[in-house]
Subunit: 236 residues, 2 copies
């Protein structure tokens, strides 16, 4: 079995994923918030491509979440800050979510993969425990930033490769690179990400608390899985 | 001024390179051999996209070089082994060359960039000495392997970033990653590349001598530059 890392959604067509599990990764902040929301009892999170698509769910009693370029879109309940995905706010609710990068990656994966899961540092161990016993190829799909490579998603992919190395045989060059970068960064992920361009973008948005939150390891057990067009809690 | 690393040709459209110098990188083996050939007095090397295009130059007294999937195409004078680009073989000659990845990357860059140069470990310092005084943005374009990320091209990009860090202000996430990977690998590039998928491919082709040759630092002063459709020696 093999693990590969797709460094940006723009490269997804290079991978044969019909029989694979695809893990979508958008650490800052979509897949961290989705993990946290499902952990906190959200019934489902529906990823949609466009802000306009969110509005189609307007009269169904759903929470509407929309983020573009790191900010909550005016008029929406919230965006993709993990602090909006607490028990109090999303427990028992369905959230309709659109984000700059994460939801696009989800839709690309959903077209072709055998199974689509959500990964984040928050559920790293739970995710790896699941993947290592599935006997399936794994593609770690980094959402990146507008089709560009980014560090934080690559570091998480590297964390997964590092955890799963003993259970898989084949690794592509990008998984080797991701694992080695994680090796450099793992003792202080926040400090390492100061090197990243996205970090500067985020600093301007004044969401340092979000960044620190999203870099916590293993505070969640839930693995969100795409069923049809809805992300729900995987039964394990 | 900024340095960016385009990790595969499939991502080139994400970069605004009209005013930039683009350095094309295909360490194993096209840009190493091109550097060595120009260093050794080849009058010009003409990169062409297809094997068939080589044949258009059949009756002009040029040397015809064609490589696909790591092997010399049957009927051609040679492929992209650096040992075919010695003084004796290419001095004073024009070579028409097509390769799996390198020539494709060259043509993509040539459509839009301000200037297109050839980089390899063989001319690392000469290249960096030139780039640091040009007052232009630099894009390091990794040729990769069939649009996939590869380690050896990324390591070279990282070597350039490392050399030029003090002369530039802005670095994208992929240049940060490339530099850090080079930091891990630089003390024994050959050993590090044992981790790579391409390394296994190359082992099967029995070209270990080529790999070792292409990882030598600074044995050349020449910087090949694209002028029209021909790579010639840059006048510095």
């Amino acid at each position: 079995m093999k693990i590969e890392v797709c460094l940006t959604p723009a490269l997804i067509d290079l991978y044969d994923i019909e029989q694979s599990i695809v893990v979508v990764i958008d650490i800052l902040r979509a897949t961290s918030s989705i993990t946290y929301g499902i952990e906190n009892g959200a019934e489902a999170i529906i990823p949609v491509a466009n802000v306009e698509d969110c509005l189609n769910y307007n009269d169904k009693g759903y929470l509407l979440a929309a983020e573009r370029n790191g900010e909550v879109v005016v008029g929406y309940d919230f965006g993709n800050s993990p602090f909006s995905y607490t028990k109090e706010k999303v427990g028992g609710k369905t959230v309709v979510l659109t984000t700059t990068n994460g939801t696009k990656a989800l839709h690309l994966a959903n077209k072709r993969a055998s199974q689509v899961l959500i990964g984040s540092f928050l559920n790293l161990d739970a995710l790896c425990d699941y993947l290592k016993v599935q006997d399936k190829n794994v593609l770690l799909l980094c959402a990146g930033w507008k089709d560009q490579f980014n560090l934080e998603d690559t570091l998480f992919a590297g964390a997964v490769v590092s955890k799963l190395r003993q259970y898989f045989e084949h690794f592509d060059d990008s998984s080797v690179a991701a694992e080695d970068l994680y090796g450099i960064a793992k003792n202080d992920l926040r400090k390492y990400l100061n090197k990243s361009s996205h970090s500067h973008r985020l600093a301007q948005l004044n969401i340092e608390e979000d960044v620190v939150f999203c870099l916590q390891l293993n505070i969640c057990q839930a693995i969100p899985v795409l069923e049809g067009d809805r992300l729900v809690k995987l039964a394990v």
